[in-house]
């Protein structure tokens, strides 16, 4: 076994369900004991827990959940890191934060040497699984700041033996030129930024499909598993796109899309336990039903994470739905969105993911934004569309009608307004895109962009 293996870790990636769960239980008991012993937060919330009473994974459900609000309030009450850490800042070697795109205070996460090595290890499962190998050249289009983002990916590439080009603070044009100049075979970015890079390449008259790029590693947004968006990215790059998803609270990815591309992402189940629950009742949902992810991680020792409510909406299906041979279950369609993403417009459920899937069917669209307003007692939803520079303007009426028809068809007849935005008017994103603006609770005078 070496570079011929399709698996990063063949021993555990091919375990059967019973063995995998036995391994998870063994690790759970040790991680829960560690948390109880060292973390002030868990000493309070797990007080009285007898580790020996954790006899099956079902027993995990007896433990309390941890929420983002818990973490943030603890951080505010006990700055700078709160009560969750099992070690002090002097025992850590890194601190990272959430991206802060919501305008709230960022969450702060500490990592020890071991934790940081593990973060790269998790990415290694993903990059190896989608076919990255020694000899590749990877371009990482990422700002390398306090947001954890692709830091772990960078180190995993080095570990595997890939030549890494860190595409830090630069213009999009400079990044496109470096991708070509260095002969990158792998590019990592958010899905939105992959489209932005392709747009810039077109403006520079660079033929991306003729470049050596063979793989795109996508992360940071659900769009990496929206088939229409993914197809668009693959077409514009002439390369295969692979979705991954992670979170700052874990420090790394917990799911990845393998080279067989089963229409979803494998859960790295020897390193995390992923529960899928009804967000209202908190009861587990069966395979094939949507629910909220609740994660228990075996990675970080500095900040143990037991039963963390992620707010991510997922649909879990069995590993057997993929032909790759892994025993790791799959999130069909990747991360489907946020549990609180759904908007209700005149009684109809609207998901940003569904809108994006429709809009990406129209090649004339360069960028878009959804704006929700309240006019009197009636809610309105407007799709604002920016056309590609080379798109003929006389085709707008037909495009507008087609978009209105497709959006209404996918939303129980709900009437969308469709407006054309001027060139460059809509925001562009390098990290997580935020294309839905709900003005219904915005203060008077708030801007729509």
């Amino acid at each position: 076994v070496g570079s011929d293996s399709p698996y990063w870790n063949p021993k555990v990636e091919t375990l059967g369900r019973a063995e995998l769960e036995a391994l998870q239980l063994a690790k759970l008991r040790r991680q829960a004991a560690w948390a109880l012993q060292r973390s002030p937060w868990y000493q309070r919330t797990l007080a009285g827990l007898d580790i020996e009473s954790l006899r099956s994974l079902q027993d995990l459900r007896r433990l309390p959940v941890l929420t983002r609000e818990d973490w943030m309030s603890s951080q505010a009450e006990h700055p700078p890191y709160g009560e969750l850490p099992a070690i002090g800042g002097d025992g850590a070697i890194r601190v990272h934060t959430t991206s802060g795109t919501t305008g709230k205070d960022p969450l702060r996460a500490l990592d020890s040497r071991k934790d940081w090595a593990w973060i790269a290890e998790m990415w290694a499962y993903g990059i190896w699984g989608c076919g990255v190998r020694p000899g590749d050249t990877a371009y990482i289009a990422f700002g390398y700041g306090s947001f954890i983002g692709f830091w772990g990916l960078h180190y995993s590439m080095e570990k595997v033996g890939v030549l890494v080009v860190p595409g830090g603070a630069q213009t999009t044009e400079a990044r496109v030129r470096q991708i070509i100049d260095f002969g990158a075979t792998v590019v990592a970015s958010t899905p939105t930024y992959a489209l932005r890079l392709a747009q810039e390449a077109a403006a520079l008259r660079i033929d991306l499909p003729a470049s050596p790029v063979q793989r795109l590693i996508l992360s940071g947004e659900p769009a990496g598993s929206i088939p229409q968006t993914k197809a668009l990215i693959e077409e514009q790059w002439g390369a295969k796109a692979y979705d991954t998803a992670g979170m700052t609270e874990i420090g790394t990815i917990m799911v990845f899309e393998c080279s067989d591309q089963p229409g979803g992402t494998h859960i790295i189940e020897d390193q995390v336990i992923e529960e899928v629950v009804d967000p209202e009742s908190m009861q587990p949902v069966p395979y094939g039903e949507r629910g909220e992810r609740v994660v228990t991680s075996f990675g970080r020792g500095a900040i143990p994470l037991l039963r963390y409510r992620t707010g991510d909406l997922v649909c879990r299906i069995p590993a057997s739905r993929c032909s790759c041979g892994r025993g790791f279950d799959i999130y069909e369609g990747g991360i489907l969105g946020r549990v609180d993403d759904m908007k209700i417009i005149r009684g109809t459920n609207v998901y940003p993911r569904a809108i994006e899937a429709i809009v990406r069917e129209f090649s004339e669209v360069d960028e878009f934004q959804t704006v929700i307003t309240r006019e009197g007692v009636r809610d309105e939803i407007t799709l604002r569309v920016e056309l590609k520079p080379d798109c003929p303007r006389d085709g707008w009426d037909g495009l507008e009608q087609a978009l209105r028809k497709s959006l209404a068809h996918a939303h129980e007849g709900l009437a969308f307004r469709v407006e054309q935005a001027s060139a460059g008017e809509l925001p562009r994103f390098e990290l997580k895109a935020k294309r839905t603006v709900d003005m219904r609770e915005a203060p008077i005078g708030a801007a729509s962009t």
Binding site: V12, E19, L23, A26, K27, G91, R113, W118, F298, G301
Partner: protein, 66 residues
Amino acid sequence: VTQDLLGTELTAAEERLLAVYRELKSLCGEDLPPVAASNVRAALALMHNVVNGLALEYEQLSDLGV
């Protein structure tokens, strides 16, 4: 220890990997010059990935500065 966390007999290679891991842990307790102390801890952090990944051992190493 002759079995992994799943109760499976260790292979010869796994036994050697576990021995390296344990030797590095042991060295963390020695009074070593910075060049050795820091690099041993860096190596131990990586070796934990090996023993954890192969289900040979799983533990936290903060008390060793790792």
